[in-house]
Amino acid sequence: MLLRDLAHARSGDKGGTSDITVVAFDAAAYDALCRELSPDRVRAHFADLPISAVDRYELPQLHALKFVLHGALGGGVTQTLNLDAHGKCLASCLLALSIQAEHESPHD
């Protein structure tokens, strides 16, 4: 299944850093996200961005993960020529990532 089936998300920006909040719909989905959505996985998904490091913060009481994508915006709003200078669309792009949920058979 897609991450979009398990969570909703919002991106923000500070300078050249993009931050993406991923909020699982329930506790089971949150557990799946903690297991599957490693910083390396997020970085690999966005291999086309000039990311230097990804930090992940866990907020179990909110079923939320916060990802901080350093360098993702290539200089930030005031430096990039991207149409989406703020990287506002990145959260939606992350939701396209495939997730192996626990209750899902690998052969589904």
Binding site: H8, D19, Y57
Partner: protein, 430 residues
């Protein structure tokens, strides 16, 4: 909540809608109304405007916003705080006074100054340097009886913390209560983003009435209790999901949300839905702020020239790719003194990033976009003209060509010792 104070968000950015603030004033039973109008680079852009016209440099919608709410605020005793002063807070205060006089309103307007620290920096290329002030100046202004407080750069959360600290007489080192005040500020600073704006995703997160989205308010008790709500009957929704997205919005380490008033810990915050579009906030904490203030430094960054043109129908993607091929060659041969270029296809790869899908064989329509950063306005014009040149000289069926040129500012961050940035309050009577 007995003894609680109600504070509303009337704008979350410079271009925000005006009607939701009017609704809050008329039906929200507010004590305070905050208009947040400054993004990261807004002051630098306003400073460029002020260089061209010394009377400019503040938020261009200020007169419209004040004309819409000032009389209602005065008659209901709602006091206003806004950072719409941008690069010219005294100029903004003069506009507020002007609107008040035109409506025969008597007002005490406070101007919070001190954020402009350009003189403190050794930065010859800078056009602006503004420190993020805390709530101190706003508290002083409200303690002094201000009906309207106009600021330049102040931390967004402090715009809301100021009125709460003033109303509840909280001490500057009362970390527990400052945590509440600043959390309210962070949840409300983007206005509609906590009431269902920037949240709807049909079938996943459905939001009713987005065309008439209501803006939020917070009820904040003297004990620091917080409830977030909106005016009954307005569009949108306040729930645990909208509050969770906004709590973490543009926060990096949730345990260290740094503001000039305190470092707030969001890492144990949780929400409960206590009524229709009414959410209680729990578990906030805070500690002392850093000894330095963040400063945003703006500098000239040349010009960006852009052009776009659309292709539709069978084969449109191939024609778009041909257009890009032509543009790349033409711009390379033009010998522009370009810092960088970007070529993209809107509908394919303009905003989409990540490893989610292959490029389709064809689309119903696609729009070509080229952007380039160059040193002169003339070179920037040239970039857009190469795109409009495709009208007669490019692939078949190009339509809707547009071009534009933007003067750019770059923003970098630094810090200055807090002791070097005294805040002061000046007064205007209307």
């Amino acid at each position: 909540m007995p003894g609680s104070v109600r504070i509303g968000a009337g704008a979350g950015f410079a271009d925000d809608r005006i009607e939701p603030a009017v609704e809050l004033v008329e039906r929200g039973e507010l004590d305070f109304l905050v208009f947040e109008c400054l993004a990261e680079r807004t002051i630098a852009l306003r400073q460029l405007e002020r260089r061209r016209d010394p009377a400019a440099g503040f938020d261009p919608l200020l007169r419209d916003r004040m004309s819409a709410v000032l009389a209602g605020c005065r008659s209901r005793g709602v006091r206003i705080v806004t950072n719409a002063g941008a690069a010219n807070p005294p100029g903004a205060a003069a506009v507020v006074a002007d609107v008040a006089r035109a409506a025969s309103l008597r007002l005490r307007i406070a101007i919070v100054l001190g954020d402009d620290v350009l003189d403190l920096l050794d930065a010859p290329d800078a056009i602006s340097a503004n420190a993020y002030l805390g709530s101190e100046g706003i508290v002083e202004a409200l303690d002094g009886g201000a009906d309207v407080v106009v600021t330049g750069r102040v931390a967004d959360a402090a715009l809301f913390a100021g009125p709460l600290v003033h109303a509840h007489r909280w001490a500057r080192d009362d970390w527990e209560h400052l945590a509440s005040a600043l959390t309210v500020g962070h949840l409300l600073e983007c206005a509609g983003q906590v009431t269902g704006g920037y949240f709807a995703d049909p079938g996943v997160n459905d939001v009713p009435g987005l065309a008439d989205l209501g803006f939020p308010f917070a009820d904040v008790g003297a004990d620091g209790r917080i409830e977030i709500g909106k005016v009954a009957g307005t569009g949108g929704v306040v729930n645990v999901r909208t509050c969770t997205q906004q709590l973490l919005y543009e926060v990096h380490d949730p345990a260290r949300y740094i503001t000039p008033d305190a470092v707030v810990d969001f890492s144990r915050v949780w929400f409960t839905e206590v009524g229709e579009s009414r959410v209680a906030v729990h578990g906030v904490d805070a500690g002392p702020p850093p000894a330095t203030l963040k400063v945003s430094v703006g500098s000239a960054a040349g010009f960006v020239g852009e052009g776009e043109i659309s292709y539709a129908g069978p084969g449109c993607l191939a024609r778009a790719d041909l257009a890009l091929e032509i543009l790349e060659k033409r711009l390379r041969d033009a010998g522009l003194d370009a810092v960088q270029f970007r070529f993209e296809r809107i509908g394919v790869d303009a905003t989409r990033r990540g490893a989610d899908a292959a490029v389709p064989h064809d689309l119903a329509e696609v729009r070509v976009r080229v952007a380039g950063r160059v040193r002169t306005e003339a070179d920037a014009e040239r970039i857009g003209r190469e795109v409009t040149g495709l009208w007669l000289n490019g692939p078949a069926g190009g339509g809707g060509a547009r071009r534009r040129v933007t003067e750019e500012v770059a923003i970098r961050s630094t810090t200055v010792p807090r002791a070097l940035v005294p805040t002061r309050v000046e007064w205007v009577e209307a």
